[in-house]
Symmetry: C2
Subunit: 256 residues, 2 copies
């Protein structure tokens, strides 16, 4: 694939992004960056207002300029879509036509599902001012509309490309919803925690913290419970034992 030849690492089967009548080079560049953030590398451009190549697009692509270098430029949407089997049109405007409207998530699912069959997919995005024409929308089987604030639903061109690319990437992404970074350590085990608790409670006993003494069992439980919530690491326990030791040491240099 051209992508890997040129050093890009496209994810197989990603949809082509077709920008129709884009106006600002900045947005073309931002769209390229957004695409590449989520593994898409194939862009086509129909009638870029300011010609092609465009230096503002390159400046705004922030490292995704290879997406721009590989971009194909066309005179008509018909030519740009000629080679595709599954054609989506991204638009937020209501059209007076009978047409299926899918969320970006649903579109991502269908594109993924079409990969084994070898179907080629593309998504049309309209220009900044007018969006896609009805004639462009008719060329697509399905409209993609991003669910958004009904009072302010108009998305910037590159932002719209980003969300569609994001959902495409998300669909097959295996990232767990949360992980704990390890910081080169591991969770403390029971022995280490009990060592810390014992150390702390011995010193608190010595300093008269547990008064009245009949409250001590409950106070110990509360302290331990509070400290357990922090999920200390082995390194944390060593740090805290140092803290306890330091607090109970006689001052080396008392203020005069």
């Amino acid at each position: 694939m051209a992508g890997t030849d040129r050093g890009l690492t496209p994810v197989q089967g990603g949809p082509h992004i077709i920008l129709v009548d884009p106006q600002m080079g900045e947005n073309i560049g931002a769209a390229a960056r957004a695409m590449y953030n989520f593994g898409l590398t194939n862009m086509s451009i129909v009638r870029p207002r300011d010609g092609w190549p465009n230096s503002r697009a390159i400046a705004n692509a922030s490292g995704a300029h290879e997406v721009l270098e590989r971009a194909q430029v066309y005179d008509t949407v018909e030519e740009a879509t000629a080679d595709f089997h599954l054609i989506f049109a991204a638009t937020a405007r209501d059209r007076d036509m009978v047409k299926e409207v899918a969320t970006p998530k649903e579109a991502a699912k269908r594109i993924r599902q079409s990969i084994p069959a070898g179907h080629r997919c593309c998504i049309l995005f309209g220009g900044e001012r007018a969006g896609l024409s009805n004639d462009d929308v008719v060329l697509a089987q399905t409209i993609i509309t991003v669910p958004a604030n009904p009072a302010f639903s108009s998305l910037n061109l590159a932002q719209c490309v980003l969300l569609v690319a994001y959902e495409w990437f998300q669909f097959a992404d295996q990232t767990p919803s949360t992980v704990i970074t390890d910081g080169h350590t591991r969770p403390a085990n029971g022995a280490e925690l009990n060592g810390l608790f014992g150390h702390l409670e011995t010193e608190l006993d010595r300093s008269g913290f547990f008064r009245p003494s009949e409250k001590k069992p409950n106070m110990v439980r509360n302290l331990r419970n509070m400290l357990q919530r922090a999920n200390f690491t082995e390194q944390d326990v060593r740090t805290l034992r140092g803290v306890v030791a330091s607090l109970t040491r006689k001052s080396v240099q008392s203020p005069k």
Copy 2:
């Protein structure tokens, strides 16, 4: 709420977006637009490089300028976060610390879950060049990292704000994965479809389409099945009956 007073329609309980050391007004404006696209209206800004207000931010907000007008400016992250109970830090960089890392989707879920308890949530985003410092990240309980192309994971500031706001909106959004726009009509019913099929098949019989005649039943089934896939509306059926009638009419004006 200030939001509704000013004509905005914020969704209750949305997180505050705190931009730390943002450089380009364009990105602050784009972030405001992205926020408002997904119903977020509360922005704070710590040490904006080019001062505040910023005309480029307003130009790039494309109608979300009210978000900017309401933005609070702070000198330190500590002041900006003083009032919040649940603090997230958006960063893609690996930090050498033990810290929970959540996806935007998981963060959205936690923020939604904290609303009934009345907890106030904020999300820190770093500036374009250096992102958040480790000291900023320590102020948060949880890191948000957007799963992205490992070879190109650095998101534009406003794009990152967009994805977090999008997931927050998605979490409670009820949009069905697909709908069919109605175009002021309704699906054709069985009688209408059968009327069309009968009309078409009668004309095809007349013009000698069904040959050899023993193949007719199978040809009829294939035709009907193909046409059923289009999910015709009542208006479509009328249009198609006009098409059949027109095709079978003697030319009014034959070419001479």
